[in-house]
Symmetry: C2
Subunit: 252 residues, 2 copies
């Protein structure tokens, strides 16, 4: 509501970008190669006009990105196979930042969802469920955002950031019907996970995950439309995505 009042040009500003940019500061998993942009051309050409072009390298799982179900479940959807109906639609935002900012090993609980539902009503069927942990404020400071700025296999044990508990994931699968799930930390599972159970449970049910989302604090708990379009990598286990949201509008 406050946001709407700020709008001078409603058409131009009605969409809020929930995506981080990709650059050499973009955060990836400690074992993954990061984003790298190589300039191919930049400047005046012999033809007398300006020309700029680049190439880039990226791991699928870094920055604001998608986890396709196949990332953790054999035979399930690859990026290009995910139906658009799971990527576009109504969203709800559950703010767990008061707890998550106090505890870098916080795992979102069933109670967090039930408390939210007490106020805002039962999560709608086919909802895109987003959790605001508050961690987007630490981006791109790796140490604050994920607990370590070290790289390589030995750094994985040093990861500390909030995630979704496996019990919560299982409860959502059993008792609710979500289209997709996302949050503003590096992973659906918390940093200290060893078994990635939350990923595995959701992937098995064909539920895509969105990680390293930002600007969730700019959204109300309900009345949001979200559009999530990942790069269409054939056979991909994930990839860069652009996620945008609009408040108080009809279904896109």
């Amino acid at each position: 509501m406050g946001l709407m009042a700020l709008h001078i040009d409603a058409h131009a500003q009605q969409w809020i970008d929930l995506s981080h940019s990709f650059d050499n500061k973009t955060i990836y998993w400690p074992t993954a190669e990061g984003f790298e942009l190589d300039i191919v051309a930049q400047g005046q050409t012999k033809g007398g006009y300006y020309y700029s072009a680049n190439k880039f390298m990226s791991s699928e799982h870094g920055g604001t990105h998608l986890d396709a179900p196949i990332h953790f479940a054999e035979g399930k959807h690859t990026v290009d196979q995910i139906p658009l109906s799971r990527l576009i639609g109504a969203a709800s935002v559950i703010d767990v930042s008061a707890k998550a900012l106090q505890n870098p090993d916080y795992q979102i609980t069933i109670r967090d969802i039930k408390d939210w539902e007490t106020i805002h009503g039962k999560l709608a069927n086919n909802i895109i469920l987003l959790f605001n942990t508050g961690y987007a404020r630490y981006w791109p400071d790796r140490k604050k955002y994920m607990g370590t700025d070290k790289r390589g296999k030995e750094a994985v044990a040093l990861l500390h950031f909030p995630g979704i508990s496996p019990e919560t994931a299982q409860w959502l699968i059993t008792h609710r019907k979500i289209a997709a799930i996302g949050l503003d930390t590096p992973s659906l599972d918390y940093g200290q996970t060893k078994r990635f159970l939350t990923h595995r449970l959701l992937a098995k049910e064909q539920i895509p995950g969105f990680e390293n989302v930002t600007n969730l604090d700019k959204l109300p708990p309900t009345g949001i439309q979200v559009i999530v379009l990942p790069m269409k990598i054939k056979g991909g286990s994930g990839g860069p995505l652009r996620i945008i949201a609009r408040i108080n509008a009809d279904m896109p």
Copy 2:
């Protein structure tokens, strides 16, 4: 209208994907490095669960992709700077396939637009303008799609595919107000261009371009909503994009 009648699940199928997938057959400019997916992990882990992850390399300008204004105009918008208002909204499709499929050097004319307007009315302000040349049917056959399957600098002179004439670009800038422009060939300028004038004229006006779009033959001339979300490459001159459309719906 015919499309709508086919829908069994309206929610799931209402969006049409106008994007090609990225794989090792994806078409890039003859001088550009193509898409390359490297498998990082695939299969059962020691932890007893399945895990799949990849990394990839891509030039910005290949596959279904964005031309940011800075691609051909110094100081103009990079990918991450393009306002979402230019990427989301009402679209019109002008079918020039009857002429373009007869002439691989076809350049879309002012007359093509005026003829369309005689039937469908003047192009609306802030419209996303899409041209259907029919060339998507040739994807991913490089020889048919772009006139040559050769690579490297010497192949550029062998390029033959339709584009938008510079006169048409200038007329659109002077007499209409388009938000963005796209088509189903490798480039806004036709294959035989030497000066890329169409690119330069549009870029100078901050008008983004969408190239190698597909499925435009599935859309009616008007009454379309389009969403175009490019990978958010900071400072990028372009990049992979996902473009989707919906027929006969309210503005998203």
